[in-house]
Symmetry: C2
Subunit: 347 residues, 2 copies
């Protein structure tokens, strides 16, 4: 068995197009019998598919879980990675370290460690033998397969004080809460679109502890059961049961709660297209709008703000922030009601 060096960014796995990095690449080499010194190889047990991608595959297969499994197998066979060709998004995975390349040894992982990748499946070389089960409630698939993790790609050891599936579900959106912590402070007003969903709940909980008693957290959630869960948590000052795709309804709900100015910070956590303008209309002049959902359209946000003359800062959600895994797990550890809701819903 020859050991190859490999590039820290993983360009050695790119088959097409030439010169691309692994994420935008059309196709990766998923032959995991090749040994690279910069890689950690993981025995994959669970795929946690990005919510926008899972929804698209469900719709494409008429809600049939077997259809989702077939689409995942087809994508992985064709692209060498679970990179949804329609949504452009991926997800992450959970498994056990099988081997650690020499140049990756300093990262401190050893064979047998239970780990989760903190990077997108859209750039992770993946080989699947088969799909054992599809769980629509959590957008997860149980699988038998292998994956390679590059030197620059963050992964995390699974903590033992929380159920594994819960950890995986949380790590998939681990970037959300740390970004919120940076973007708001005491006294701020914060609107969360899709506040009852997974990343929405984390954003609302983080905003609550940042803005304090003098600040205001406003949750917008279209699904009544999720809105009820959100109210029961008691982390929002106001919860409106509204479809965030209706920009005028969102604006009219937020305006009276912010003295007509709009919010200091708006977080869009809705995994469907068409919420860009609602987020912009909910923000105050010179406010911030942060888009976490992969279904966000760059041009709809950019041209939407311009078209209505709104001078706001628009952010693309970065799934990575320093110490994001520990930040998010600790946020959920610190709130029993949030922990229990997450566990009930996503595992």
């Amino acid at each position: 068995m020859t050991t190859l060096a490999g590039d820290p960014l993983g360009t050695h796995r790119v088959l097409a197009p030439k010169g691309a990095l692994p994420q935008p690449a059309e196709r990766l080499d998923n032959d995991l019998s090749k040994v690279y010194a910069t890689e950690i190889v993981v025995d994959v047990q669970t795929l946690n598919v990005d919510a926008a991608s899972f929804r698209q595959m469900e719709e494409a297969s008429g809600g049939n879980p077997d259809g989702v499994a077939a689409l995942v197998l087809e994508t992985v066979k064709r692209r060498g990675k679970q990179h949804n060709p329609v949504t452009g998004s991926g997800g992450m995975l959970l498994g056990v370290v099988e081997r650690v390349g020499d140049l990756a040894a300093a990262r401190g992982f050893v064979p047998g460690d239970r780990v989760a990748t903190l990077i997108s499946l859209s750039l992770t070389p993946l080989w699947l033998d088969r799909v054992l089960a599809v769980r629509p409630a959590s957008a997860q698939l149980d699988v038998v397969g292998k994956a390679a993790v590059f030197l620059t790609a963050p992964i995390a050891r699974i903590p033992t004080d929380m159920p594994e599936r819960l950890v995986l579900a949380l790590l998939d959106v681990a970037g959300a809460a740390p970004q919120v912590a940076r973007l708001c402070g005491p006294g701020d007003s914060v609107v969360v679109l899709g506040a009852g969903g997974k990343s929405g709940l984390l954003c609302a909980a983080e905003a609550r502890r940042r803005v304090g008693d003098t600040g205001k957290v406003i949750g917008i959630e279209s699904f009544p059961a999720y809105a009820d869960d959100l109210r029961a948590l008691g982390i929002c000052d106001h919860v409106a049961t509204l479809d965030a795709r209706d920009p005028l309804a969102v604006r009219d709900a937020v305006a009276p709660l912010t003295e007509g100015r709009g919010a200091d910070l708006v977080l869009s956590c809705v995994n469907v297209p068409g919420v860009e303008l609602a987020a912009i209309l909910a923000a105050r002049d010179r406010g911030k709008v942060y888009y976490f959902a992969m279904s966000t359209s760059f041009t709809a946000a950019a041209l939407g703000a311009e078209g209505i003359g709104r001078d706001v800062d628009l952010f693309i959600g970065n799934g990575y922030a320093h110490d994001h895994a520990e930040h998010t797990l600790s946020l959920v550890r610190g709130s029993r009601p949030l922990h229990d809701l997450m566990q009930r819903r996503y595992t």
Copy 2:
């Protein structure tokens, strides 16, 4: 002739889908014989098409200007606006005020004023009688037509001390320089991808006056003639002739100029897909990346940063900022070489 009130955001012009705002709408009512109190109606003389959109239409018609004209006429007929269905982008227009609705009178415009819209064509109801000429160098079309400007949509009176076509070309990217002014300060290192193009030149010039002598402006430009123009202006400390779609080449050019750290601020002004990762790799840890080009992919940026574990702030370029028209015109007025280059190239 009945006068209708109309909505400040222009929802009264949306034909499909119901409840949408004008920008994301599939189709607008471009019957400009209808009179709305919130609208200013403009006799349109010139369309300044967004660069990404113009390039796409040129490619689709094999480089034939008549083909571009036909595509514009077809889009306007079908959608009631010049909203490129492939790129999702628009541009802006120049003309003469024909009538001012009662509720728009306070904006201070009167019939006969020469004006430019500062909003996207993708949300402007437009009626075209015909196209008189297509000018590929400036991505402009001379036309006979009419447009409606909503109450919330910024427009500007054309100054008389600069050629009109130059003003139009500059206003189309008026948001760029004011955003750069906010994002960098003395001593910062700034990388501009596509620094020799229209918005790139404005960004580089603004960065130069913000970062001062202790800062550094690095221009990346793939087109040799544009790179030469940029060098001749003397606003960059370094100009590299490179294709910004090559992330590793960009990283390797920027690293030695920033002590291996990467830049404090990276501005992406390249109007082709596939530069998201290059921009991220050129930025330092906790640096800022601002995407101005409408060809930017939200998911490529979000997942790209995550996949290589880069903790950077990613911004969607907002085409609107307060006083952006005056800011940009004054930047160009203040530099004769920049003014002359812009006039030579874009008029």
